[in-house]
């Protein structure tokens, strides 16, 4: 009988894990594989770039200026008579030529690879953290309401912070004390006490103002009202120029998409039986979110993250192009291109090399992301 049972089970479906299934589907998409290969290659090059171009005496020095060697086309050899021995390019020739200051473009591109990668990953990381957090709350706790006392407490806290920043110690201390009192009060009211003169007052404070979902989605609406590139440009222009500011700003202006994804996914997952079952078993909210819902919601987020990295790299290049990018000691592909634009007729490689590199990298991220989407989403499979 057991034998028979096994044949029965075995007939129903081939046994493959989800990952195998995914890989089999993904393999079909030749463009996506190409994207993946480029992706890995780019990652390795960027990593190598970090080690080869940093430190005290880097293998490839991106900052070394050789004015006598400026604007040499790719693959040209240096003139040994005019250079000191330590100024020779590591490869013995300029693979990608030199720029207007005689810097080795190859070394600069290597350094830029790491910068671009970091900008892309950190910016998307920030936007994912914010997006998943907001979307998760909106999707899972969305039906809960924010009450009047929550708003008042937040106002107190903000006012306290403002006073503290402005240096008024006493009002700040007073407000902080108020917040502390409030928290104590919250803990007290956990125990129900029905009668008493305070109840009607408390009822006013406990009035429901707005649901969390509405609040978060309105915030998303507000953020979407800003023209994103213009907003990034404004903020980056106002802040002191630094690589980190750019990452943070790109991240903080691009989380709305993943918020919407995660919210929609959570809303539909919430209704599904396995979540109801988990809740019926008394599983805690956090565990339901991270153990049961997150793995199911992660696929679309992953896809949008991959494509988000591509977009972030493009945005950084655009900012660099306008002169608001990562500031000078770092070479980025955007500012190599931007510097090169003045020599577009004399030294076209200064435009083409970073341009084509950006194109290839962004393209590979996009293709990889789309391949992921197709393979992760069985509904779209036959398309």
């Amino acid at each position: 009988m057991t034998n028979n049972q096994e044949t029965l089970e075995g007939l129903l479906a081939p046994k493959r894990t989800r990952i195998q299934e995914f890989w089999l589907l993904f393999k079909k998409n030749r463009l996506a594989i190409l994207g993946l290969v480029f992706f890995v290659l780019f990652f390795l090059i960027a990593l190598a770039g970090l080690f080869l171009t940093s430190g005290h005496d880097p293998v490839f020095n991106p900052a070394l200026i050789r004015l006598q060697e400026k604007l040499l086309p790719p693959l040209s050899t240096p003139n040994p008579n005019t250079l000191r021995p330590d100024e020779h390019p590591t490869l013995g020739f300029y693979l990608f030529g030199t720029d207007n200051l005689g810097r080795d473009v190859f070394a600069r591109m290597l350094q830029g690879a790491w910068v671009s990668l970091t900008v892309g990953f950190v910016a998307v990381g920030i936007s994912l953290v914010v997006g998943i957090f907001m979307g998760g709350i909106a999707g899972y706790f969305g039906q809960n309401h924010i009450r009047v006392h929550h708003i008042l407490a937040t106002c107190l806290l903000i006012a306290g912070a403002v006073f503290a920043v402005l240096g008024h110690v006493y009002p700040a201390a007073l407000l902080v004390a108020g917040v502390a009192l409030y928290i104590l009060g919250m803990l007290r009211t956990k125990q129900p006490h029905k009668n008493g003169p305070l109840t009607s007052w408390l009822a006013l404070f406990r009035m429901e103002a707005v649901s969390i979902d509405t609040l978060i989605m309105r915030i998303v609406d507000i953020m979407l009202c800003f023209p994103s590139f213009f907003l990034i440009l404004t903020v980056v222009a106002l802040l002191p120029a630094s690589m980190y500011n750019i990452m943070i700003v790109i991240g903080l202006t691009s989380w709305m998409g993943s918020t919407r994804f995660v919210r929609a996914e959570f809303l539909s997952l919430r209704e599904q039986d396995f979540v109801t079952a988990a809740r019926a078993l008394g599983v805690r909210n956090l565990r339901i979110i991270f153990r049961h819902m997150m793995p199911n919601a992660v696929a679309p987020v992953l896809v949008s993250a991959t494509i988000g990295i591509a977009t972030a790299i493009l945005t950084e290049a655009g900012l660099s192009f306008l002169g608001f990018g990562v500031p000078p000691p770092h070479a980025t592909w955007g500012n190599i291109l931007s510097d090169g634009k003045r020599f577009i007729f004399d030294a076209p490689w200064l435009t083409f090399i970073p341009g084509i590199t950006i194109l290839l990298v962004v393209l590979s991220f996009n293709l990889f992301g789309e391949g992921l989407r197709d393979a992760l989403n069985p509904k779209l499979r036959e398309r």
């Binding site: 007939l11 129903l12 081939p14 089999l24 079909k28």
Partner: protein, 326 residues
Amino acid sequence: METPLLSVQDLRVNFIGDNTVARAVDGVSFDIFPGETVCLVGESGCGKTVSALTILGLVPMPPGKVMGGKILFEGSNLLEQGEEEMQKIRGNRIAMVFQEPLTSLNPVFTIGDQIEEAIKVHEDIEPEILRQRSIQILKDVGIPSAETRLRDYPHQLSGGQRQRVLIAMALSCCPDLVIADEPTTALDVTIQAQILSLFESLQKNWSMSALYITHDLGVVANIADRVYVMYAGSIAEQGNTLQIFNEPRHPYTQGLLASLPSRSKRGKRLHSIPGAVPNPAHKPRGCPFHPRCQFTVESCRSRFPEVCDYGKGHLSRCPVLYEKQE
């Protein structure tokens, strides 16, 4: 003997997936004679719908692919017809009523548009007569105040009404053959009965043939002249309704009938067939039913069973029971 209106002979349809080939229809043959109601019965996933869609050339290709066989409609092979000839046959000579009334009507056009369109493609007809005919046909399928309903959009109708509209659309050109693919599955039980009797009376009145696809043996007993029982892409047993219900000759048919609730079995545990329908991409060797069959012998595992003739058109693909019978 008269010639069949539609004769499907050894039809084979494969679905070519990413890494697999699913033999959805694997050597199916059946005949439909003029004026006859034929039922195709089987569990979901056994290839009933695909067979029906293949008749009209509506299987999406790719991934579908017809691997062999013939579909003779009045003597001409539909599989060899060009797209334009098929357009003249679809709706006009062979019409189809689909399973999901909720999604089978286009949400952005009115009921009237959709019915009139079905007539207009096949007939050159004055607008005024066209309108009259659509109203008449809506009345025929039992939709009250048909004149105003014509201007409604599908979402304004209930599920049962939408199914009536779909039937009206299918019958609007008086086809010779109507294929109904589980038209009542998505509906409430009370409405099922209404639709079923409507379908039957219209079909008899207009002397159309019908291919009725269902998994519901109760429906079969009500309307069928002849029955084809399908399992895993091939016909397991065929015969007229009495033969199938009274003297089932295939273990699968027997299992299906045994699992029907009935008054005589009151208080007893319902029978169920162990296991499930095999995945069309991984069918067992030999008789496709052998892993679930209680009569399995060694030859079932290796050889595809041949047809055994019980006379009077009653055929079954189970040599084991045939031998026992003798």
